[in-house]
Symmetry: C2
Subunit: 206 residues, 2 copies
């Protein structure tokens, strides 16, 4: 009993990855509206029929992209932050986080857009998230945890609220990423580093 599915051959697994790569690339580059099976297959260098050997249907393919591609390494990097508590300075680490967050959220925008364009898919994705306890809120929690650790080390004011600080810092980066994508690059004349420094200075000023 248990796993019915026989282990896929190495070649088949590679093909699967090529399809997922192609799907997420097309979505990011050309948008959900242009992410047709034809276009995805063309990008992957495969026939459309092959997509259906690896995924039940288009919805299954998209859900898999959301499940396997979205988490990304950003949350992981934030989670690793707690181990760095006490090193460098809080200020420097937060600036690093902010500088990383903006490009990360910019990459994310088309995927998020695709999710909101298909509420049925979004609903199924939510089910999956709540079943596993995963989700983007983990980024906030991870950063808050790091800030809590710094607080216990006496390197962050007692009265500061780690979770609120995290929401402010990442929220500003999130919005900035969307504004840049939405209004165009010209908004990015203020450099990313400068933006990060201003945010952190304001948050840590006492």
């Amino acid at each position: 009993m248990g796993t019915e599915r026989a282990a896929a051959s190495p070649r088949a697994q590679l093909t699967r990855i090529r399809i997922l790569d192609a799907a997420s690339a097309v979505m990011s580059d050309r948008g959900l509206a242009n992410a047709t099976t034809k276009e995805i297959a063309r990008t992957a260098g495969l026939s459309e029929a092959t997509l259906y050997k690896h995924f039940q249907d288009k919805e299954d393919l998209f859900l898999t992209v959301m499940r396997e591609r979205l988490p990304s390494e950003f949350v992981g990097r934030l989670a690793g932050l707690t181990d760095r508590a006490g090193t460098s300075t809080v200020r420097a680490l937060l600036q690093e986080v902010a500088a990383d967050a903006v490009p990360f959220y910019r990459d994310l925008a088309p995927m998020l857009g695709a999710a909101f364009a298909q509420p049925d898919l979004l609903a199924r994705h939510q089910q999956m998230l709540s079943a596993t306890g995963l989700g983007p809120h983990l980024a906030l929690s991870a950063l808050a945890e790091y800030l809590g650790a710094e607080q216990r080390l006496g390197r962050l004011a007692e009265r500061a609220q780690p979770h609120t600080l995290a929401a402010l810092l990442l929220g500003a980066c999130f919005q900035r990423a969307f504004l840049i994508e939405f209004e165009g690059e010209h908004l990015a004349d203020r450099s990313a580093a400068e933006f990060a420094r201003d945010l952190v200075d304001t948050l840590l000023s006492e």
Copy 2:
């Protein structure tokens, strides 16, 4: 010379509004993927052919929705804030802004999603924005302007950066709105008012 187009009859204008209402309602409720001409016409209680009497094509209709429906009264309310500088307390006004911002951004999410799902449309929308100088960044500017006014009144610390404070406050609300829409209502157990209070307390603590 100038306006070639004859003034539309009152009835025609009403129909136009019904179409725009229907289009934005369908997009918000059922997502871009389900926002077909058939569905929009059905919602408006009109035939599909009528859509084409009022808009050149579907793209024209969507662009018009983005142009005429997105700005909303939220930016206006923020712009009106400057006149209220010196009244109430800075703390109370900012809490009010934050409490307003979350539901506003939640409403906005499906539209923003639709924009990112069609990069060609987004590009044309951007052109329009940069031609008129409008855009969502105005919300940030409006809030920053208010904070600057309070600063001149001596009700906000000299060293505070109005624009950075605005980016932090609205950014946190923006991200929270997306998280709620993306992960589901359960995130909203912390009440909106409580969330707003925490943000403002952290930003104004000295």
